[in-house]
Subunit: 326 residues, 2 copies
Amino acid sequence: MSSLDQIVSPIVGDLKDVENILTENTASEYSFVDMAVQHVVEGGGKRLRPILVLLSAKTVGYQGVDAHTLAAVVELIHVASLVHDDVLDEAAIRRGRETLQTKWGNKVAVLVGDYLHARVLSMLVARRSDDPAMAILADTTQAMCEGEVIHAYKSGDFDISEEEYLKIISFKTGKLITASCTLGAQLGTKDQQQIDALTAYGQQIGTAFQIVDDLLDFVEAPEKLGKNAYGDLREGKLTYPIIHTRKVCNDDEKQTLEKVLNPNTDENEAILAVESLFRKYEVEPHCLNVAQDYANSAKEALTTLPTSDAKTALENLADYVVSRDT
Amino acid sequence: MSSLDQIVSPIVGDLKDVENILTENTASEYSFVDMAVQHVVEGGGKRLRPILVLLSAKTVGYQGVDAHTLAAVVELIHVASLVHDDVLDEAAIRRGRETLQTKWGNKVAVLVGDYLHARVLSMLVARRSDDPAMAILADTTQAMCEGEVIHAYKSGDFDISEEEYLKIISFKTGKLITASCTLGAQLGTKDQQQIDALTAYGQQIGTAFQIVDDLLDFVEAPEKLGKNAYGDLREGKLTYPIIHTRKVCNDDEKQTLEKVLNPNTDENEAILAVESLFRKYEVEPHCLNVAQDYANSAKEALTTLPTSDAKTALENLADYVVSRDT
């Protein structure tokens, strides 16, 4: 398996430019706003969405710098949604750093999220006015919000089906990952088949990404994740591993699972119960297999595209999304 | 004094169209999202910002229907900011209706606010792509967020000056009211002097509006306001009447005021202390005078514009903003 650093080697210079754009375009005349925004933007993460924009553009032959702005825009949309997620989840840490609400309270966190969305709008407006990216990102942002609202609304609803859940995550996470690929592709080609291929890649990798994200919440050490383990579960948010377990387990075990979701249940008791069910039903390998199937479909979607370093990087990225441990 | 119904009589048909656009453009395929959004959008309010778009456009001779969409857009931006304000203020009721977080919790409220912002972006994108409204609204939304962040950050800071406060409210509230007038004007004329006149009107009326809003929080009955009295004060948010009182009172009284802002102070004790200082320093008439000065400046800004029903309506609206009791 390639490391992420190896995978992104064809675009390492571009990624530096994206970081500069992120810093320049989030500056506020109010130094406190500036500081709070830099805290979350520099918090970093993998920059998966910028990587997808840049690699998708390069895969279809694009060589300009316009991709850098779009890459920064999709990352800002992502960061803004994380800021609000952390408020909703009452998360104390994210990627090993204190969250905004830990440092400055919920109000500042909600408003900084709003501010980032506003900056995205400003950045889009400052681009070409006939830009098709705007419509795609408007649809994407709207779908992300719908997915988030529904996931929050269904919080604690034990009867959500796998299909329903997969649709919600295709809105919540998948749309922005897919848009990253589509936007990159549109920069480099007018060939709709190539654009569709990269869009399909994005859809598949997006689902793989979210299933693995859900799984890591259960199986990875909190120090490594930079956030609390079992965070989703403890706030009543059902995710793929639990929804799958509920589908395959017996009626007694279903009752145990339902109890685990009750916030009054002792945390250690809940964790032991989940670990036991995950072992019995081999939930971790199952989730990884499902995610790998999506990753394989993502790679297949690229077969009609010409061979290049960037295409190879996208193929490796699909595998990385499944095999990563953070 | 004219009632608001009388003032808006030249645009009553247009306002109905705006309501229809608001309903059509906030629909979601998820019925829960739909219901939550309709709850806040129908919650209504005075529709001050749509009224300003429509009257400004009409004042400079505009007769088309494009003003209806822009009027709906500015109202949605306003509603979205109210939804998040209510979360931040932990408000239980707004305009006599339960707030979203009372009905469905904080998470849904934060996310519905995000969703409304996303719909605004979609509506803007669906308009003409060369539209100057987009840049104005991008700047406006950004400034609103900056003002909100700074007001939340300064919450409980007793040393904020009148000038600093007026700058914050020009960002928080003033920018969207001003943009409403500018956008309406741009629809009807290319004459920059006319556009500047309506922009100046918007700036002045925006400040008048916010000072009266601040005052009503102290002097009006909660039943009438449809929200809790002294709400700003009790959550440590300094507004114009308190900032002014602090400036004119003696050192002992300053200490009393500072104590009032401490959430541990008994609520009735705090209210009595504020009432006594407001009487002694005639704070209510002072605030109304200051607001009326801004309203007068707003009316003066219109003098170069041709006489019309719409212009008269804007003049009456400036006085209404000061004399209203809700």
